[in-house]
Symmetry: C2
Subunit: 319 residues, 2 copies
């Protein structure tokens, strides 16, 4: 199968199951130009069917092994799965995800699984936007589940998790010490906790702490009570039970109307991202002109203050 | 001394050395409203004198102990120092910075030192902007050195480091393993390497690796060659030598004209941040109106595509 370059044919080809076309499509979305807009407009009517899950947790928690297990089980149920791995943005986070991707390669021969890594370096805030639109493309391509995995270390990664319907936070017994501090943040983003490497000592202590913390969250009979699950991804222990809780959360979202609510938050952010990207591009152009350089020079010489200069610039960018 | 609430008097009071006024001023800058603009306009003419240093490194590298030593030495030279600690944005990063702040408390009785922590939670991309304007305020308040410390784990933190003139990357021998992967990123942001806990085995190996990597960077006779320094912050070993290299880098920036260049990049980003913040606010307003909600509803029902809807929204926000 060849890869058509016409946007409409490319989208059709990707939706018909041509994985090379899908890969090309996503690369073109990452280019962030006029073509991106055309592609998103063509894809958008076909979105809204996939379940979008987020998986995060500290480095070394075994996220990727768990993702691997989840993918195998989902395939066993006949479901198609796309995995979007958001590589760490920091130079300090090391090579974990790279190695993990290699581990996932056993799935690459399976046409029901699609794996894509997105890098964060040099994106300057645009990654969550790119990731969101990649998820739209995978949804439109017909995957039953789109799994977004992040190393969960920065603001960008937390932004990205907001696009998921169900967020699974993976912890390990060793994480126990820092739980006190991270409590609030974890409760905010998590829909399901997975205490991985649960055969290790201290696992039960962490489970108890998490359950106690969940209980402290204000809730009524309509609230989702975050379940705390024990897994041993290395031995495929607890995977089925974890999937059960994810399914239960998806059902909860449907019944409570929260699924539509989340979709609207996602779309709202997409609109804001689109307009901010547009503004950034137009400012880049204006600041590259003589007028822009002159304004910057005046600002540097303190002949004008930042908010005044921004006002002038805004007028130029709007013209 | 009372704290005046009038912006002009508040700025004057902060500049005259009233630390309570300075604290209030920074809090008001963090509020991000019309008052913020007034304050920045008043502060801006007094900026441009401070040296701004950034310090980053992986958790556990001993950054804060090193900052503590640098502050003591700078005080010994009669210089005033402000420390801006950017708290980790991630729920996984634990409580290191919190504890570190307590360690710094010995300086709080010293009127020549000012310490401020900025949190990242819930800021949604606005933190680097807030941090930048806080640095402007500290610069205008007359500090000789403004030291910005980040846990260095995410895109936001890297954005923040861009506002520093001199960035010190602190590593420890144990970081050695991951050097291969982080090489490129580190070389990009670092002006000076500090290999801390240099009494540990493997320290020399890390130093050699870093020196070799620095050598691989393309350079000519006008380039800054990133020095690799050994420190033992716990015993105050190597602090003076590190300060020497920082001073040499500042001199290099002055002589090469790179200081002005960096200042202009800083100002350019400040302009972009101001306009993006303005756009975000105006979109929040518009999306909260009946028209905005209706547009979102139509988008949700797929009667309109995202980029089309963004265009409509942009028209509404501009009115």
């Amino acid at each position: 199968m060849g890869i058509p370059s016409d946007p409409k044919l490319l989208v059709e080809s990707a939706r018909a199951g041509n994985r090379a076309a899908l890969a090309r499509l996503i690369s073109r979305i990452e280019h962030r130009n006029q073509d991106t807009r055309t592609l998103i407009s063509l894809l958008y009517p076909h979105t809204g069917k996939a379940q979008v899950w987020g998986i995060t947790g500290p480095p070394g928690a075994g996220k990727s092994t768990l993702v691997d297990r989840l993918v195998s089980r989902l395939r066993g149920e006949g479901k198609t799965v796309a995995v979007v791995a958001v590589d760490p943005s920091s130079p300090f986070s090391g090579g974990a995800i790279l190695g993990d991707r290699i581990r996932m390669q056993k799935h690459t021969a399976d046409p029901g699984v699609y794996i894509r890594s997105l890098g964060t370096r040099g994106r300057h805030g645009g990654l969550s936007h790119s990731t969101k639109e990649t998820v739209l493309a995978l949804d439109a391509a017909g995957f039953d589940v789109v799994l977004v995995e992040t190393a969960g270390v920065g603001q960008t990664e937390l932004d990205i998790l907001r696009l998921a319907q169900t967020v699974i936070v993976v912890l390990v017994p060793e994480s126990g010490d820092s739980i006190q501090v991270m409590k609030a943040g974890l409760m905010e983003i998590s829909d399901v906790f997975a205490v991985n490497k649960a055969d290790r000592p201290e696992a039960d202590k962490l489970v108890r702490e998490l359950v106690a913390n969940v209980g402290l969250n204000p809730h009524d009979e309509n609230s989702w009570i975050i379940p705390v699950m024990k897994t041993e991804a290395a031995r495929d222990v607890g995977t089925v039970e974890l999937l059960g809780e994810i399914a239960r959360h998806q059902e909860y979202l449907e019944k409570s109307g929260k699924k539509a609510e989340k979709a609207k938050v996602f779309l709202k952010e997409e609109l804001v991202d689109i307009l901010i990207e547009g503004l950034r591009n137009s400012l880049d152009s204006v600041l590259g002109t003589d007028g822009g350089r002159d304004l910057l020079e005046r600002l540097y010489r303190k002949e004008i203050a930042p908010y005044e200069a921004a006002k002038v610039l805004s007028g130029q960018a709007g013209e």
